[in-house]
């Protein structure tokens, strides 16, 4: 029996954690999980125009008794900073999975400044940060981080390294 791709296992981990709302600003690295969320009748998949919408959605979900996750890429973290005051002030869980750009074989220089600042910015805003570098650790890190967020009522981000995701290949 072949093992499922890690992306499928990440979705299964989110389901086991009880996630019912999945907000996202699309990224190629999240494409499989987004596709699975839309195919799942027991998941609200919410496409956002900007990342901070997903933080506010998560707060509303928690008020109504549901768990949620926000999927974004590192360039979106900068859009989120002030909205992070919401889960922190309200002692709500917040869980996000972030695909990294600008750090491994990056072709696009415009991705580098935010990618370089992502972890420091999140920590400065009060978010607990975990990082997955290898396919064989990502599911455990996602599952443990979801528990940390939901059961300890704190904001937690999992960074999926660009080496894990695969650098975007550009052709002319």
């Amino acid at each position: 029996m072949t093992e499922l791709p890690w992306q499928d296992q990440v979705y299964a981990a989110l389901k086991r954690a009880g996630v019912k709302q999945l907000a996202y600003v699309p990224d190629a690295g999240h494409a499989r999980v987004i596709e699975m969320a839309h195919a799942d009748n027991d998941m609200h998949a919410v496409v956002c125009t900007t990342e901070e919408e997903g933080i506010a959605l998560s707060a509303g979900a928690y008020l109504g008794g549901q768990r949620s996750v926000l999927l974004m890429q590192s360039s979106g973290v900068g859009n989120c900073i002030n909205m992070l005051s919401l889960p922190i002030n309200c002692r709500m869980p917040f869980f996000t999975i972030i695909t990294m750009r600008g750090e491994w074989g990056e072709f696009n220089p415009w991705q580098v400044p935010m990618g370089s600042a992502t972890e420091a910015v999140l920590k400065a805003a009060g978010v607990h940060v975990r990082r997955a570098e290898r396919a064989d650790e990502v599911v455990d890190i996602v599952a443990a981080s979801a528990t940390l967020a939901f059961d300890s009522h704190i904001p937690v981000a999992v960074l999926l390294s660009q080496r894990l995701i695969g650098a975007k290949v550009w052709t002319k």
Binding site: K20, C48, E52, A56, A61, G64, G65, S68, C90
Partner: protein, 197 residues
């Protein structure tokens, strides 16, 4: 499409009365940062109210998350033109999800009242009702008088409605409802009947 003549406190009182009298149970009211918080609080604090003292631009999306999580309850977002403008994309996101149990009321006075009465975009050409329609909202109302506010009541209790209510830019006495986010969160969850975790 800037501010109008309506007394914002009279409008808020009617909205809270509408929320309390809803046939399906009290509406869950999310109040956007700024004067909408003071207005709804002044109409009488209630556990179903969630006041935002920050997170500007987040009110509509909090309403969406709550509405999706609680499909048997009805949610009302009350906010101002400035807060709605900061989260303009949320009007598209909410419309895309089209929850049947969420309405949004924008109290439009055409200015940023909290920060020195600078004119907002609704005084400079933006019509939020047209924006909402463009985002895909099917039920949109613009209200200029109290009869119109009264007529909104049954719609806010039953439809997925976005209403722009044109209120006077006149200042009213400040009223400060609770601002402890953790308390407001716990209180609302208890009012809904969500088990503690």
């Amino acid at each position: 499409m800037s501010g109008g003549n309506l007394d914002r406190r009279a409008v808020a009182a009617k909205l809270v009365q509408t929320a309390d009298a809803a046939p399906g149970g009290p509406l869950l009211v999310v109040c956007g940062l700024g004067s909408a918080v003071y207005d709804i609080g002044a109409a009488g604090d209630r556990p179903e109210n969630f006041y935002l003292w920050g997170a500007m631009g987040g009110a509509a999306m909090i309403g969406l998350g709550l509405a999706l999580a609680q499909p048997s309850r009805r949610v009302l977002v009350v906010t101002g033109d400035g807060e709605a403008l900061m989260g303009l994309g949320a009007l598209a996101t909410v419309a895309a999800m089209a929850p049947a149990n969420l309405s949004i009321v924008i109290l439009d006075n055409g200015q940023f009242g909290e920060t020195g009465h600078q004119r907002s975009h609704t005084s400079l050409g933006t019509d939020l009702s047209v924006v909402a329609r463009g985002c895909g909202w099917r039920n949109v109302a613009v209200v200029d008088d109290m009869a119109g506010v009264d007529a909104l009541a049954p719609r806010l209790q039953a439809e997925a409605l976005l209403a722009v209510i044109r209120i006077s830019p006149a200042e009213v006495p400040r009223f400060l409802p609770p601002r402890d986010g953790a308390m407001l969160t716990l209180r609302l969850r208890q009012a809904i009947g969500v088990a503690p975790d």
